[in-house]
Symmetry: C2
Subunit: 310 residues, 2 copies
């Protein structure tokens, strides 16, 4: 086990809702906190709530021109032409100016980004990679606080891939992906669950800033390794639905030979991988256009060193 | 009890999916049947499948310019200007030409329209009014065939109100409203349930055409009497969510004093009606813009006379 790691105190924290304008738990919470910010303040740092994609929120759609949460690449953030190709590219640059610049010492210390999914993902915690020490300590703290809830950790960044999500603008970040909830609907149960999860994150940062030593730990995480598209007919149209035995089974092992799709002719299509995988984002509405009926993950055990403020 | 009623045999039946382009059970079934129509044919009549709103289906949205399923009023159907004010008005006129004209003797005998809702409505059967003898016999047949499922009947037409739905173009019609299912998602379980419900409808028509006498019956139905909007702040924004005790409780009695909303400050808002109501479309995504957090219904018992072909 690696020795104790030290990081500086966190002074500026951002909480974002409405990065996708039809994921309503975060939209409602961010709007509420913009009007009533006291709930998300703590003694040792300042928290700034904001709406990621206000125009998409207004229209209750995921995005206007392109997915904002894939727009935080250096190419887009540094693009100079004032006629940036979409509203979201302009918005990404604005967010980068306010909460970044990405990769710089002026960037916010932490950004928490609030999402919903139509998939049965529970209170999924999304971190870029296993190298994100502080966010993984936050995840461990959340899991301890909310023992009865399913708070699996998802690592989204592929080997060698640039980060592109909104919270990659800050020095450290975490996304909460809560489901199942339909697009355009706010359920009271998920809203309350997301609200308490945000509170755990802020409580962790407060404890960290006050000098608490967070011991080393081992933790399970699911690393995204690819995705599986729907079967399609020759004209590209989807020709099968997610199999009832796979539906709602996010984070449960899927073995070679297990059914994954059912065609409208009643034929079962089986999983052909060589090894078990742990599917996530099963039948997520927003991923039909991304050609992903589900994402494949590998289950890993991560060892993380102890952490304390400098 | 009224005496035996007679109606002519049904020769032309239409089955519509995608009246709302993001309600996927009907979209997938209609596309499948357009390519493979044999499943919905019977010996005594011809069935025509079609997509209600193909452009909305393409974009996976409810509608392009306005809600197609409110566009079948005589005003819109008879509007002469070629620059009709939206795609859906043009489409309503096309559908009226193909399957109507509404109210005429040339109209199709029956139209079945396939919908999904994000609300927990089960396999809800929507009929215009208690005067729709043939559709109510169809509902009774469906309830008998699918005994284990919840197939409540909803009467949508208000006193003195013109019919406006797509199946008002045909001589008789029925909508299936199946949920809960998120917009833009096709769940295998609901797809199978909708498919078998469609088969029951076609089987009923086949039996009717062959001379079966369907006896008189009494049946429970829920008649829409109004709707309740979300609480809003002075600028018109929604300031509360559907209460967890009301969420998913469609068709269950709501009594005066029962909680219906929860504000983001934690305050409960109670139902103030004088009598119990039976809420439906609770937290339906598409009704946020229609300012309806839920619809109120009255539970009625309808007596329907026996029915046989002329």
């Amino acid at each position: 086990m690696t020795a104790l790691q030290h990081l500086p105190a966190l002074r500026r924290v951002a909480v974002c809702g409405g990065t996708h304008g039809n994921e309503m738990s975060g939209v409602y919470l961010a709007k509420h906190w913009l009007a009533n910010p006291s709930e998300i303040q703590r003694g040792t740092f300042h928290t700034t709530p904001f709406l990621g994609n206000p125009r998409a929120v207004e229209q209750c759609v995921r995005y206007i021109g392109r997915d904002l949460n894939r727009a935080f690449t250096m190419d887009i953030l540094n693009y100079k032409d004032s006629d940036t190709d979409s509203y979201e590219c302009q918005r990404a640059q604005e967010i980068n100016q306010t909460f970044g610049p990405k990769g710089s010492s002026q960037a916010y210390d932490f950004m928490l980004d609030l999402h919903n999914t139509t998939a049965n993902m529970g209170s999924c915690l999304i971190v870029a990679s296993e190298h994100d020490l502080l966010p993984l300590h936050v995840c461990s703290y959340i899991q301890k606080q909310s023992k009865r809830k399913h708070c699996p950790i998802l690592l989204y960044q592929q080997q060698g891939q640039e980060t592109y999500s909104i919270n990659s603008v800050s020095k450290a970040g975490l996304a909460i992906e809560m489901g199942p909830q339909p697009q355009g609907v706010a359920r009271a149960d998920l809203l309350a669950e997301m609200r308490s999860t945000v509170a755990y994150v802020l409580d962790f940062i407060e404890l960290f800033n006050k000098g608490t030593l967070f011991p080393a730990f081992e933790i399970e995480a699911y690393k995204v390794v690819g995705s599986v598209d729907f079967p399609r007919n020759p004209s590209g149209e989807i020709s099968a639905v997610v199999h009832p035995k796979l539906q709602d089974k996010d984070f449960q092992p899927l073995k070679p030979g297990d059914p994954i799709f059912q065609t409208l002719d009643g034929e079962n299509i089986l999983y052909e991988g060589n090894d078990p995988t742990y599917p996530v984002f099963i039948n997520e509405a927003a991923y039909y256009e991304k050609k992903a009926a589900f994402c494949k993950t590998e289950k890993q055990t991560l060892s993380q060193p102890a952490l304390q403020k400098f």
